[in-house]
Symmetry: C2
Subunit: 321 residues, 2 copies
Amino acid sequence: MLIDGLQCGFFTREVFQDLLDGGFTCVTPTFGFWEGTLESLDAIGLWRDLVRENSDIALLARSVADIRAAHDSHRLAILPGFQNSNCLEDRIRYVELFAELGVRVMQLTYNNQNELGGSCYEDSDSGLARFGREVVHEMNKAGILVDLSHVGEKTTLDAINHSRKPVAVTHANAASIFPHKRNKGDDILRALKQKGGIIGCAIYRNITPPEACDKVGAWCEMVARTVDIAGIDHVGIGTDISHNNTQGHLDWMRMGRWSRVVNYGAGSAANSGVAPKPQWLTRPADLAKVHAGLKQAGFNSEEVDKITAGNWLRVYGEVFG
Amino acid sequence: MLIDGLQCGFFTREVFQDLLDGGFTCVTPTFGFWEGTLESLDAIGLWRDLVRENSDIALLARSVADIRAAHDSHRLAILPGFQNSNCLEDRIRYVELFAELGVRVMQLTYNNQNELGGSCYEDSDSGLARFGREVVHEMNKAGILVDLSHVGEKTTLDAINHSRKPVAVTHANAASIFPHKRNKGDDILRALKQKGGIIGCAIYRNITPPEACDKVGAWCEMVARTVDIAGIDHVGIGTDISHNNTQGHLDWMRMGRWSRVVNYGAGSAANSGVAPKPQWLTRPADLAKVHAGLKQAGFNSEEVDKITAGNWLRVYGEVFG
C-alpha cells in the first residue's frame, strides 16, 4: 500500500490510471482552496461525476474499510479533502453536513488568516480563534481529520492541544531540516506525536531541501530525520505534488479573489512560477522508489509499511471512527 | 399509523409532543419555501439540532424502515421536505447532495414559475422546462419524491409523464370538488393514479370546501369523492396545517423576497390573514377522528389504513428505494 496525504491540481482518468499504475492506494486531492459553500458543493458534485465515470479504476473513500476495498479491487481510493475551511461560511452546522457528503480532511486555514485562526504566512498568529475551537471539536465529532499544514505556529499548537482526536500536518517538512514558514518546528512535531497525529513529508520543491528533490536517497534520509523527531508511528507521506497545474491554477491558489497584488505562496519573486518537479519524481510511478530508499535509510519492512501507509491508516481509523 | 404528507410552520418540542400524542406517525414539515442553497443547508442543520435535542420523541426518517422504527419506538418520524427547488440554485448535481443530507420530498415550484417549470398561480404555464426535466430524472435516481402541489397544470402533467417513479401532490384537493388554482383537475388525478402516485387531501381552509372544514364527516366524504377519481390506492392525507404561524411567516411564504406588493397566496384581499383552523381540527389529536369518519364514509378497515398511512408508505418505498 502507498498512501499520499495530499495532492493538488486537475485530475483526469489519465491521472487516476498513472497513480494506480504507480502503486498508489489512496490519495487526498485538493477539492478546494478559497471556494465558498456553493463552489465547494460544486466541486463535490464534479468529483462524484469524475469518480463515477471512472469507477473501474477509482472510488471515493469514506473509511479505512473503503481504502482497503479499493486496494483489494485494484482501484485508487480518493479521500476527499479541502485545503481551507471556507466551505463552512461561518456555519458550525455545516461541518456535519460536509462530513456526511464525504469530506474527510479539512485544513483550518490556507495561506490567510480566517475565522478559525492564523496562517503560516501572516505576520502575527492569533492562535485558534473562537469559531476555530468549535470547529475542531465539531470535526472531531463528525469524523473529519484536522489538517494544520498551512496553519500558523500558534494556531497549530492550539489546535493540537484542543483537539480530542489525532490531527495531521498532511503536507510539510520539519523546519529544523529545511527552514521555511510552511514547515513545522520540532515542538509542533513532538506535540503532534503526543496527540497520536501524523506529518506527511512533502516533496514540493519550495519547502524541501534541494538534495532531497534531486535524489530519492536524500529524501528518505530527510524522512528518517523527521522520524527521529516525531517517532516512527507519526510520519507518513504527503507529497503535495500537482497534476496538470497551470499558471492560472497557481494564481488561484496564491491570490484567490482576496488580492490584487502578486503573491508567491511558498515561492518567491525570484522563483514565482510552477515549481519544477523533483528530479527523482517526475511521474507518479517514481514514488515506488521510496520503499527501497527507506530501507537503505535504515528502516525495516514493518517501519517502511508504517511510513508508506500504516500510519495514515491508523490516524484515519481513529478520526473517521 | 397516521402519515401526513405536508405541514408548515414553526416546530418545537411541544409540537412534536402534540403530534405524537395525537397519533401521528410521520409528518413532512416544510424545511423551506424560497430559501437558496445556504439557507436550506442552515435549515437542515437547525432541524438536525432540533430533532437531536428531542430524540426521545422524534427522529429524522430517511426510509420506510425509519418510519416503522419511529412507530415501534413511539417517536414521531420527521420526513424532510422542501416546498420549492430553490435550494438547488440551478445545479443538477445538488439533487444528489441534498438527497444524501436526508431530503426526501421536493416540490418543483412553489407559487412562482422557476427554472424547472410553471406554478399554479402564473398566467401561463410553460410546462416542465429543460432543467426541470433533468431534475425530475435526477430526483428519481436520488430517491427524492417529486411534489407537484403548487405546480402549474401543464407542468404537473408533464412531470407525471416524465417521471420514472411515482410522484405526489402532497397537499391539495380535487378541483372538481372545490375549484381553486391550487387544486388538481380530474385528468391530473387520473394521470397520478396511472403513474402509481398519490394525492394528499388537504384541510387548509382556502382550498377546502367550507363544509369539509366544519365537519369531519364532510371532509371524509370529500376524501371518498377523491378516491372515486384517483382510486383507493392513490389517496392519502396532506393536511397543510401550520404550527405557530404568524403574519410574518405568511408574508415570507407569499412574498419571499421576490415581491414588493402584497400577495395573498391561496387567500384573497378579502381573506388575507392566517386562515382560521378547520372547526373539527383545532389541535393535532383531532385528526384521529378521520379513522371513524372514513369508515362512516363507506371505507372498510383495510381501505382506511391505506388512506391514513399505507398509500404513503407504498409510494415512499417505491421512491426512496
